[in-house]
Amino acid sequence: MTRPTRRRVGRSRLPIALLACGACLITASCTTGGEEDAPAAEPSAPPTVHTTPSAGARPGPLPLDGHFLSREDHEKLRSALDLLVAACMKRAGVPLPPAPAVAAEPPRHERRYGISTPEQAARYGYHLAERTTPPTPPPVTARQQRALSGTPDGKPGPGGSPPQGCNAAAAERITGTDSFPADALVVRQLNMDSFEQSKNDARVRIVLRKWSDCMKGDGFSYTDPLAAPRSMAAGPRASAREIATARADVACKEKTRLIGVWSAVESAYQNRLIKERAKELTAARREHDDRLRRAAEVLRSFAPSS
C-alpha cells in the first residue's frame, strides 16, 4: 500500500523576534485584511501572511472553501438525484423508503485546530455538543435495499430494477460513475496539504510551543491541540479530567491566539496552492459545472409543464 508523502516545508527566513510583535503576530510586513499579490516567493519559502490574525478563538473561512461543493450546489445535485431514484423505484414498483432526517452540518472548520469554545469545553470536554446521535433512518426491507443498492450477482433487481441499483443508476446520469458527487480530489488534496504545511511552518510551530507551555502550566503535557483529544473518556460522557484538559486547551488557545495565527498562516499556504494548481482546480470546476448542468436538465425534465 502506498504511504503518503510527507512534504518538507522550508524554514522561515524571518527573525523569530518579529513573529511575536504585538497585534501583528505573523510578520513584520502584514497588512490588514487586504488581498495579497506579493512577488512570487521561491517555492520552498513559507508564504507571506498579509492578514492580521484574528484575535477570536473561532476558526474563520479559508481561501479554498469556495472550491468545495457548496451547500446550494449540493442541494441542486441532490434534488436531481432524488428525482431520478424515485422514478427508478416507481418503475420497478418498489416503494421508496422515506428520506431519513440528517444531522445539521457543522461549520466546515469547527474543529480544524481542535475545539475552540469555552462553553463546549466546560460542558462536553472533547465530546460532541448537540449531535449526540444522528437521526436513525427508517427500516428498509431487503427488497427495497436490492432495488436501491443493486444485486451482488449482476442480475436485475426487484421489479426489473437495474442490477447496479437505482442509486447507482441515478448517479451515472449526473456524475458518469456509480458514485454520488463528492468534493474534487484536487480540492481535498490541497486542503490536506495546506494543513500539513502550515502545521510545520516556523510561525505556527512557535505558537504551538507557546500553547504547549501554557498547557504545561496547567499540568497537561501535549505537543499540540490535536493530540489533546486523546484524553477523551470512552463512552458518551466526558470525564472530569477530560473537561479540565479541554478547558485548559481552549484557554491556552485564546491566550496564545493559536487559532488566529494558524488560520492566517494556513490561508497564505492555501492562496499559494490555489495559484500553483490553478489548472487542476479549473478542470475540477469544469467537471462540477457539467454535473450541475446535467442536474438542471433532470430538474427541468421532471418539472410540471405549464
Binding site: 503518503p4 432524488d82 446521535t133 433512518p137 427500516p139 443498492s149 458514485s179 500539513e196 486523546r230
Partner: protein, 139 residues
Amino acid sequence: MRLKHALIAASLTGAATLALAPTAQAAAPPDPHCLGARAFCLWYNSNQQGSVAGWDLSTGFQGFPNLKDAGRFLTPGAGQGVPVKNNAASATYQFPGQCHGDVKVFVNSGWSGPYDTVPACSAINLVKTKNDNASFLVN
C-alpha cells in the same frame, strides 16, 4: 471502483463469518462485508480493494472518536489483520433510500483536524486521511 465493489467483494467472501474486535461503542454493529442497507466501510487499499472493515449505521451510531476502537481489517485480502486506524486508503458509504448525509474521516482523533467527506452513496479514495485516519463522524 465503486459501490458495487462492496457487494461483489462481499459475495466472494460471503462464506467467512467474521467479527470485528469488540469496541466501546455498543451501537456500532460490525458489518464486515459491507452488505447493510446503511453501511460505512473503510478499505485497506485504494479503489475499494483489499480487506474491508465496515459498520452498520442503521442504529444511529455517530462514529468512532478514536479509530483504535475500530478493530482490524478482517475480510480476506491485502491488509487482513491490520488495525483500521491509520491504515485505510478508501471508503464507501452505502445508504438506504434517498442518499442524504455523509461521513467525515478525520486525520486526528476526537474529530479534529482536516477531514475527507464521504457523501452517502459514494465511494472515494481518501487523500491525506489515506493511511492517516484517526476518527470518523456520521452526519
